[in-house]
């Protein structure tokens, strides 16, 4: 299990930086570490989600050359939040997964924008929302739902085999 977690956090970060651009659709790339953090937080709870979000975000900050701590904080918050709410949501349904991940991505984007504004990030909010946050949120929603379905299918196959 620890190996899985390490692979999910580190692999998510490195896949995002190295292979993420290959997944671009119309210049929109998914936030793979965010999806990984959400999936882990749903399974392991708020504290684990918070820690996983911190590590994944820190790796993303380091890989992108941005300010260390911005994504670490926003992803830790998202991990904590979704870990706490996970038990109350019917997360196995795609109708919940897609809008859920969309909303989480938007929330993460807003938190990130607020933090970056403190250090005078120059991009205007409207353009960022239109061209970066919302398209990425939609992409994350569908990719995350597909991943959940794939994981559920893989688990059911494994149970059937054992």
């Amino acid at each position: 299990m620890r190996t899985f977690v390490a692979v999910a956090i580190f692999g998510g970060g490195f896949v995002h930086a190295s292979l993420g651009p290959a997944l671009r659709i119309a210049d929109v790339a998914p936030d793979i570490p965010l999806i990984a953090v959400v999936l882990m937080a749903l399974r392991r709870g708020p504290e684990f989600g918070c820690g996983a979000g911190f590590v994944a975000g820190l790796l993303q900050d380091a890989a992108s050359g941005g300010l260390l701590g911005v994504q670490a904080l926003t992803k830790a918050l998202i991990g904590f939040l979704i870990g706490g709410l996970g038990g109350r949501l019917w997360v196995s349904q795609p109708l919940v997964q897609v809008p859920g991940l969309v909303l989480l991505t938007v929330a993460e984007g807003l938190a990130r924008f607020a933090l970056l504004k403190l250090v005078r990030f120059p991009a205007p909010f409207g353009e960022l929302m239109t061209y970066v946050i919302l398209p990425q949120a939609l992409y994350n929603g569908f990719l995350g739902a597909a991943l959940v379905l794939a994981l559920t299918w893989a688990e059911s196959m494994r149970e059937r085999a054992s």
Binding site: G69, A123, Y131
Partner: protein
């Protein structure tokens, strides 16, 4: 409790960085991340090559056995040859530019890309060990790619021109109108200029670096005007640019490590693509 600790650590990190104290933290993380990014970049290229080969193989599957086998082998060979020729062509162009440049340059390979919109950056496999400095200009055979914003032991981060925080001094070749080329969140470039100076700017005009501030040599192509946003009586007008470089397809780059006020416009194809 954990969330509080994480928040305090993050805010502390941000505060220290804004005061310029955390180069060591970035370096420590880079020691772990750079080798893995290099390996993943190689695996990525290999996987793309295998996938391309497989796709072409599917197209000749309907032919009879001997021809199919022969066609498959020929296609695989042709793909390898084409790939090699293209790589050879790219490297030759880069070498020609490197040799013609009146400034010292350092060639590098892209090992990772960050393309989320918030940050548009490339990681190049040249770092502190190669004496790369912050704000070093990064160019390709077609023009300016960006500048180094973070130097680590074995790699550096290149802020691409289309990064929302990027801005570069530039001028229009035909009219000499001065301005600033800025990145936009949607991944495009725009040229910001004083309205009173820009009356003559036309679609198709070439924009090159002005060399102001000594951060990059003068005359490196940045892009061509494809639309003009005339804001009437506003102080500034804007021109939308088509970048001279296709940032998504860059594999090799040159880092301009030498200093000097040179005009290098003549080294690029027809003054820009």
């Amino acid at each position: 409790m954990l969330l509080g600790t994480v928040a305090v650590v993050c805010l502390l990190l941000l505060t220290l960085q804004l005061r310029g104290y955390t180069a060591g933290a970035s370096d420590a993380l880079a020691v772990v991340t750079t080798p893995i990014q290099s390996a993943l970049a190689r695996i990525n290229r290999g996987a793309v090559g295998v996938w391309t080969t497989y796709s072409d193989w599917k197209n000749v599957r309907a032919e009879n056995g001997r021809l199919r086998e022969e066609a498959r082998q020929l296609r695989v060979q042709a793909l390898r040859v084409t790939e090699t020729i293209e790589e050879n062509h790219r490297l030759r162009r880069l070498l020609a530019l490197k040799q013609a440049m009146p400034l010292a340059t350092l060639s590098g390979e892209i090992i990772a890309r960050e393309w989320g919109g918030w940050v548009r950056s490339l990681t190049v496999n040249r770092g502190r060990a190669d004496h790369v400095a912050r704000l070093t200009a990064v160019i390709g055979p077609d023009g300016l790619i960006g500048r180094i914003v973070d130097v680590r032991p074995g790699a550096s981060i290149v802020q691409v021109l289309t990064d929302p925080a990027s801005n570069v001094g530039a001028h229009v070749v035909r009219t000499r109108t001065q301005g600033i080329v800025e990145g936009e969140p949607r991944g495009t470039l725009r040229f910001k200029y004083m309205a009173r100076d820009g009356g003559g700017i036309q679609v198709g005009d070439l924009i090159v670096t002005s060399g102001a501030g000594g951060l990059s040599p003068r005359g490196i192509p940045v892009g061509r005007v494809h639309a003009i946003d005339d804001r009437g009586s506003a102080l500034f007008n804007y021109a939308q640019l088509t970048p001279a470089v296709d940032f998504a397809r860059i594999d090799e780059v040159l880092l301009v490590v030498g200093a000097g006020a040179h005009d290098v416009a003549g080294l690029f194809p027809a003054g820009g693509s």
